[in-house]
């Protein structure tokens, strides 16, 4: 009996614009895919988290090598910050440079900035699934 295999890999052109826009503008991928309600909530959540991180004077990570733990923390943190897209680029462009200082508020701020980027990664994955037809 002949078996037919169906190629379920979605074409890049189908999902790349949505995923790229989702990265640059949090929630933008969902707006592009005509899911404005979800896009608005994602945009509000990611932006609020990022702005709270800034208001708590959290530090933005810079890539830094060293021992394994240092490398993972600083490169991971930098990638997490970067995933907030335009929010991150505008913040850096405006000259925000908060040193990493002691204190629980600053520490929460740093985590909020990274977590905003990580939430945006989840939103990018969701945009990918919608664009590739795996999800409504």
């Amino acid at each position: 009996m002949a078996e037919t295999t169906i190629d379920q890999t979605p074409s890049v052109g189908k999902w790349l614009p949505a995923v790229a826009l989702a990265w640059i503008i949090p929630g933008g991928g969902h707006f592009l895919l005509k899911r404005p309600g979800r896009g608005g909530l994602i945009a509000a959540s990611v932006a609020a988290m990022f702005l709270l991180g800034l208001m708590m004077r959290g530090a933005l990570f810079q890539p830094q090598g060293g021992d394994l733990l240092t490398t993972v923390i600083y490169y991971g943190g930098f990638i997490g910050d970067l995933m907030s897209g335009l929010l991150y680029f505008v913040t850096v462009w405006l000259g925000y440079a908060q040193p990493d200082v002691a204190g629980h508020v600053h520490d929460y701020g740093t985590k909020f900035l990274v977590a905003a980027g990580l939430l945006n990664v989840l939103a990018m994955v969701d945009a990918f699934e919608i664009a590739s037809g795996k999800k409504d």
Binding site: L41, L52, L122
Partner: protein, 61 residues
Amino acid sequence: MPKMNLSHFEAAVLFALFTSVVLGIITKKTDRERVRYAAYCFGCFIAAIFGLSWLMFLGHG
């Protein structure tokens, strides 16, 4: 930009709120399921905050 001073509890609750909203949106298929799952996640976060806080308080001696 104004500087904000939050307590541990306030910061943790805000973190829980925004994370729960995004988790609800991306994991479920219908709006009803999303709201329920976001509320469930938020409840779990709050329970963990109180549970771990008491654990640290009692463990501290």
